[in-house]
């Protein structure tokens, strides 16, 4: 019976693990709902500000914001990597980081310099391990993508762009497709591409008319403000999507872990019962054998 106690202990420890993973699954499920709500609530703002930015880019010709001007030579690239702060969410962070790393290698092979802005702990840890130069970071965002926490890190990148430190800015994050599926994506943030500006312009022909705005107090600061807010809204949206992705990936991963634990418990119980049965049979046959010998 030496093995049976070990098996019993093992079953107990797997059961404890299962309790934890099941609790984490339920926590993630409730957080996921909230994160999805937040993601959806952020959409109207993104759409409105895109419309305004699109109107503006057509209306005003004398001042073009630097975010709209594409540069011919690309030497330095800024990337923003959005990851989660915590692990245990399946391959979510690994996928987006692998995508980013492959892209970075390709850029480096072309002789471009890369600087990284990390949003989220996992990305920061990874980037400092691989030795990328991290210019700014935000970690510990919690469960709400608080825009006032993001502003600082984003400003470093945007300022870098306006001051010609970067010629292009990309963002990497996990796009939320549905609860079961999240996709790592790379998007060009700056310069703003035309299709980005026009993608929600299907509303009517009316939006094609150019507005001759009155700017108060002046055109430049107002346009600057709107452009910065627009880019911030894009980043906010990416962070909100990444958070919804994180929670649903965690829920799925924890569900898989609980199921696996259930399987392991089943197998171990079977082995335990078999060994118990074998021991009883052995004892019985010994007794019978002994009685026959007498």
């Amino acid at each position: 019976m030496a093995g049976s106690r070990e098996i019993r202990n093992k079953i107990k420890s797997v059961k404890n693990t299962q309790k934890i993973t099941r609790a984490m699954e339920m926590v993630a499920a409730s957080k996921m709902r909230k994160a999805q709500d937040r993601m959806k609530k952020a959409r109207p703002y993104g759409e409105k500000i895109r419309n305004v930015a699109a109107h503006m880019s057509r209306a005003n010709t004398e001042y073009r914001h630097p975010f709209l001007i594409a540069r011919d030579t690309v030497k330095r690239i800024g990337i923003i990597i959005v990851t989660s702060d915590k692990g245990l969410c399946g391959g979510l962070n690994t996928n987006v980081l692998r995508k980013a790393l492959n892209q970075m290698k390709a850029w480096q092979a072309e002789g471009e310099q890369i600087e990284v802005c990390c949003i989220g702990n996992k990305g920061l840890g990874f980037m400092s391990r691989v030795g990328a130069s991290v210019t700014s970071q935000v970690v510990g965002l919690g469960d709400t993508p608080d825009i006032s926490r993001l502003i600082g890190a984003v400003k470093v990148v945007l300022d870098g762009y306006t001051q010609d430190q970067f010629d292009r800015v990309y963002i990497f994050y996990n796009r939320f497709i549905n609860t079961m599926k999240q996709e790592p994506v790379m998007e060009q943030l700056l310069p703003l591409t035309d299709d980005r500006m026009q993608s929600s312009e299907q509303d009517s022909d009316k939006s094609k008319t150019t507005w001759d705005y009155i700017y108060e107090p002046e055109a430049k600061p107002v346009i600057d403000d709107i452009m910065v807010r627009y880019v911030e809204a894009l980043i906010y949206q990416a962070v909100a999507e990444n958070m919804a992705s994180e929670q649903s990936a965690r829920m799925v991963a924890m569900k898989a872990a609980s199921d696996n634990a259930g399987n392991v418990i089943g197998e171990l119980t079977l082995i335990y019962n078999k060994s118990r049965q074998a021991a009883i049979t052995k004892e019985l046959s010994e007794i019978v054998g002994g009685a026959a010998a007498v």
Binding site: V52, I147, I151, K155, D225
Partner: protein, 140 residues
């Protein structure tokens, strides 16, 4: 048309108001502006304060916004409300903070590596102890 226009007040975190209104007063940077339907197109910053809205057949409504942008088209008005308190200096301070945190993390990279190394060694030592323990049990 003519007597009402569509108003949207949105912030990054939620949609605050959406619907037809007759009249609106917003705290623009250069002073309060009142907007009736078919106002000239206008773009301006707004300060934090109350936006007064009069919808048809309804009481006047007051909504607080903490600053943002106001876009006026003849029959559509959009207020893009900020969720955070913004000012140039504040933004600058936050940017510096984010930069400093990154620099510190880069500086501490070495010590972090040492930590990881120590942890790996510790795990190895623990595994060895466990193995010895097991062997001892089996042997006797």
């Amino acid at each position: 048309m003519g007597t009402i226009f569509h108003l949207d007040i949105v912030s990054a975190e939620e949609s605050i108001y959406s619907g037809p209104v007759e009249f609106l007063v917003a705290p623009a940077q250069m002073g309060e502006v009142g907007i009736y339907p078919r106002h000239t197109p206008m773009l301006t910053r707004i300060k934090s304060g109350m936006v007064r809205i009069k919808a048809q057949l309804k009481e006047e409504e007051l909504i607080y916004v903490s600053g943002g942008m106001l876009e006026v088209q003849p029959d559509v008005v959009t207020i893009l409300a900020d969720t955070a308190v913004r000012s140039h200096d504040l933004d600058e301070a936050k940017a510096l903070e984010a930069k400093r945190a990154a620099e510190e993390a880069m500086k501490n990279r070495e010590s972090e590596l040492d930590y990881a190394k120590a942890q790996a060694e510790l795990i190895e030592a623990m595994a060895q102890l466990a193995a010895i323990d097991k062997l001892r049990k089996r042997g006797h």
